[in-house]
Symmetry: none
Subunit: 266 residues, 2 copies
DNA sequence: TCGCTATTGATTGAAAATGATCGATACGGT
DNA sequence: ACCGTATCGATCATTTTCAATCAATAGCGA
């Protein structure tokens, strides 16, 4: 196992669980505690985690809750623009799938006044947002709660998604490139996203410019399976063109444009 | 278990419950009272809590979390007492089912520092409360969102519950009498509650005094299927006796009694 | 092939955390 | 006010974890 690989796993573990123990990680990674301590020491110097006796914890600066709301803060105007463009693709009477993520959450918030719609989601935040939408039928997939993203993942989620069929799936991720398609750091989340994509006739990826051209550990959906990408105008044109040439319908949301929304809601 | 992890659990517990006892925490965290005392002393020095005999309380400065306790509304002290009694029935390593309702929600809030537990629920509020419980694995059933009770119901919920088996189910309802058993106004909710009860070896009903002797439209679980009823001391003795004679183990929570928590040990 | 370097594993003494015992103290019931 | 019980604090022993130094291995270039 490569050192970078190991450290990425450590970082992932810290991010998802908040704490890691030296002995436990040494066992799961199949290495010695000495090496683990060295890794932790190096990562602590870079501020990725805080060393404690027997392990390490997430630095307070990116603790659980803050990280998520912080994330929803960054590039929020772009996310809102992307959500508005996606909103224009939804028709009354549709059944759609919404994955976890701040962008899909922004889309869910636009649906409060939608006339007739069925939404399947594995995100608790999306479900919560749609609590306010009286005419939207909300179906939550089952599954194991993953705290870091406020969503349900795992085999149970995949099973319940497999039983469904929707016209469109709106999903997100941590990176999107022409070669790797949509990707995310966690294998569990990746498998779940893949199931969501598999249940829809049309797969729409919502990804702001910070994700375009990025590649993270686990591929969730290959580019060939993705019909539409909605991103914002700050995305690298090069990466965008490569994606376009791979056969994806790329749409760029202009920050500030509102007319997409006019018809259905207001 | 890491020291930091332990202290974080203590902090969570203090924050959500307002008070912790040394003996109880030592039991649930699987450590000795000496260590707990040391933790409490250190945390008291940092102002995270105030030391008392046998435990610690929340510092006045951090006062009540907004709307945490008060929000439960009517009969909230009774509900809390019922929840504490139910808490004593849960053992580390258990798998339990939690239905929707404010009383089961109160129980969920007591579980923030529980050492090892799997909770299956169809209530979004319960899932949200357990977001703070890092050592509790939360499994949400799938299903259609019913807004009025913030819970998932319907055939999908029943299917996903059927695939599971738990040691105990803690469920609630709108009425409970010896003849009709547990009942609720909605057939959909009733069917879901019935599925929950069917997946557990032991069915525990949490019902405050306002529900005892009441009968509403749809029976969820017949009396014969219910092993234990936990209610409060304001319940009508007559109705309670009838239930007891029907073979249900009736336990009455005394408002204000806190040693029931220590009863988790006994 | 040789030697260099980076990474990993082992050993050891120090430090920290935990657990146990014991005398002192506070609380609750009578 | 009294006494029994439970809790507390302090000290010591034990276990675990840590950091530093040294040895071994693999990769790399000359």
């Amino acid at each position: 196992m490569l050192a970078v690989e190991r450290r990425r796993l450590i970082a992932e573990s810290v991010r998802s669980r908040g704490v890691v123990s030296v002995s436990e990680m040494a066992e799961t990674l199949g290495t010695t505690e000495i090496t683990l301590r060295r890794d932790l020491r190096a990562m602590a110097k870079d501020g990725l985690l805080v060393r404690t006796h027997g392990g390490a914890v997430q630095p307070a600066s990116l603790g659980h809750e803050p990280s998520y709301y912080e994330k929803s803060g960054q590039a929020s105007t772009e996310k809102a623009a992307i959500a508005r463009l996606a909103f224009g693709m939804i028709r009354p009477g549709d059944s759609i799938l919404l994955g976890p993520g701040t962008t899909t959450l922004a889309l869910a918030r636009l649906l409060v006044a939608f006339p007739e719609l069925t939404v399947v989601t594995n995100s608790l935040l999306v479900a919560q947002a749609l609590m306010e939408a009286p005419r939207v039928e909300v179906i939550l997939t089952g599954g194991t709660l993953r705290r870091s993203i406020h969503a349900l993942v795992g085999p149970a989620t995949e099973d319940s998604v497999r039983a469904l069929r929707a016209s469109q799936a709106f999903i997100s991720g941590n990176g999107f490139s022409a070669e790797r398609g949509l990707s995310t750091p966690s294998p569990l989340v990746a498998a779940t996203d893949r199931a969501l994509a598999g249940a829809a006739q049309q797969v729409v990826v919502l990804a702001d410019h910070t994700k375009i051209g990025q590649e993270t550990m686990c591929q969730t959906v290959p580019t060939a399976r993705i019909h539409t990408l909605i991103t914002d105008s700050k995305a690298q044109p090069g990466a965008l063109n490569a994606i376009r040439e791979a056969g994806v319908d790329v749409r760029v949301a202009e920050v500030g444009k509102r007319e997409q929304i006019a018809g259905a809601t207001a």
